[in-house]
């Protein structure tokens, strides 16, 4: 801004001399008043961008009464500001493969088998050692195929051309079979002396933990080791208000992220290793103020703006004992389960920040 225009504003403010509005508002022509700012943006609430929330009952923009309000800049606010935290547990496991992916990978492996040099046992195993004898037994069981994941296929044989797996074959159906094969192959079948070990005497390898845990089986929604390949979201129950994300009023000396951290500690305890991702709100829910029937200028009930920040939990568990917000219960839910629990408009706003998985 140049000095001259600053001066012009000061002079116009002096000349106008109206105490009710600020100098900048007074300077501009009334019709095209700050098209880029508050009043206009509020009027465009029903724009297609906000289409997903139009079904909501909490903050649905009321189309019949466009909320264009020419209130002065410093009018008492009609909204109370709240800050909340959507605390998420990121997925701990990789996703399961799509059946098409599994089938395609098998197809590619067999083509690769056709293109590569044959496996040379002598390069990896010295002749007549236990390891070689062990390998020999296992390969015989696989009908001479070196790979564990391609089924019975020999690219150099008479049927080398027949590399496609037919529809309905159990081979490409799941990754589980390959994992099982690797685990059974990891057992040593031959003793140090080169003698075959009977099945009951073989040393079992330790199996990895299952992808579905005990909490999954019990469907324990308060545990965090549930739905390990999905994101879990913390929701709390607040009296008759029902389920919601932990949130609370922003104090006059606070900012959004400070409030969010405070609310979380006050409501769900400090024994959670959490991290608030940035300071930018990721979702918001607005409840319109209710005006008096006889006098629309007076507010019967203040509106509410809740801004949600995103948090991540790395360890620990929520604990509602002695919480200061009247919370009675908590749950860790996936996105689909949230849909059943949260109010519709509330959910559709929070849905914007939720990842696919």
């Amino acid at each position: 801004m140049t000095a001259s225009s600053r001066g012009g504003r000061a002079v116009s403010a002096l000349l106008k001399g109206s105490p009710s509005i600020c100098s900048q508002c007074a300077r501009l022509p009334p019709l095209q008043q700050r098209l880029y700012s508050a009043a206009t943006a509020a009027a465009s609430d029903a724009s297609p961008i906000q289409a997903p929330i139009s079904g909501g009952d909490l903050q649905t923009p009321d189309l019949t009464t466009p909320p264009v309000m020419h209130y002065p800049q410093h009018a008492p606010s009609q909204y109370s500001i709240k800050s909340g935290l959507i605390l998420t547990r990121p997925p701990l496991l990789t996703r399961t493969l799509h059946p098409f992916e599994t089938a395609f990978f098998l197809y590619q492996k067999r083509l690769e088998e056709r293109l590569s040099a044959p496996f040379r046992k002598g390069f990896y195993f010295r002749h007549d050692t236990p390891a070689e004898l062990d390998w020999r037994i296992k390969v015989r069981e696989r009908h001479g195929v070196a790979g564990r994941d391609i089924g019975r296929y020999n690219p150099r044989g008479r049927m080398g051309w027949n590399d496609e797996v037919l529809v309905g074959s159990p081979l490409g159906a799941s990754e589980e079979a390959v994992k099982e094969r690797i685990l059974t192959d990891a057992e040593m079948r031959v003793s140090e002396d080169g003698e075959e070990i009977p099945k009951e005497d073989r040393i079992k390898v330790e199996r990895p933990a299952p992808r579905r845990t005990e909490s999954d089986e019990k469907n324990d929604v308060r545990k965090l080791d549930r739905a390990l390949d999905r994101t879990l979201y913390l929701v709390v129950r607040k009296g008759e208000a029902g389920w919601q994300f932990p949130s609370g009023d922003v104090l006059t000396s606070e900012n959004l992220h400070e409030t969010a951290a405070r609310i979380l500690a006050e409501s769900a305890g400090v024994n959670m290793n959490t991290w608030i991702v940035g300071r930018v709100p990721v979702a918001h829910v607005v409840t319109k103020p209710v005006f008096k029937q006889d006098n629309p200028a007076q507010i019967e009930k203040k509106g509410e703006k809740v801004f949600f920040l995103k948090g991540r939990i790395m360890a620990g568990q929520a604990d509602l004992t002695d919480n200061k917000h009247g919370l009675t219960d908590f749950k860790w839910l996936t996105r689909e389960e949230l849909q059943d629990v949260l109010p519709r408009g509330y959910y559709s706003q929070a849905r914007l920040m939720m990842a696919e998985r």
Binding site: S77, L93, A117, T252, A261, A315, G316
Partner: protein, 195 residues
Amino acid sequence: MASTFSLRAPLQRLFQTPASIRSILTPPSPFATTTPAPRLAAAPFSTSPAPSARNPQRGGKNRSKQPQTDPKIISMKKHLSLLSPRHIPPPLRMARNRHLRHWTVHRAWQLFRRGQREARDRELMRMHQGMYLACEELRQTEGPGTREEGYLYRVAMEKKGVYGHNGVPIEYARMQTETPAREAWNHGWKRTSAP
């Protein structure tokens, strides 16, 4: 012998005469003592250690005829000889119908990947839209208390402490795995100091 000479003769005419033959053909020079041969011997061209350097007496041919004694190297040579182009299978050749099936599979895979990519793009756009709308609402918000409009927005846009050292906790760097840990989640974690 005669045939090799008849081949070599035009080559010698085309290119420079080899040094060995030249030394035989040309008579010894009276200024032979001034040749730089002794200096070359003092500063050898090769810097490789003596055992691995080529023996000039035996020459390359004799050396390759030496029998390899290390069984490991014999075995490796034998097996790696399979990687020579003579043993690698030729590129895939497919008949008409087989190739059409392959093409279909390829197109299906490309379509699948595209679907995934677009779903991801849509997801990112949705998340960005959520942040954008929240920020826009925040920008039009007065307060808290007597703060002017947009105060909370300005603070939210600050990047103080967001990046840099300790910006992201190290626990957050955990990779996704195929199977969970033996204890999938540490429910008993306790904060050691007050936050």
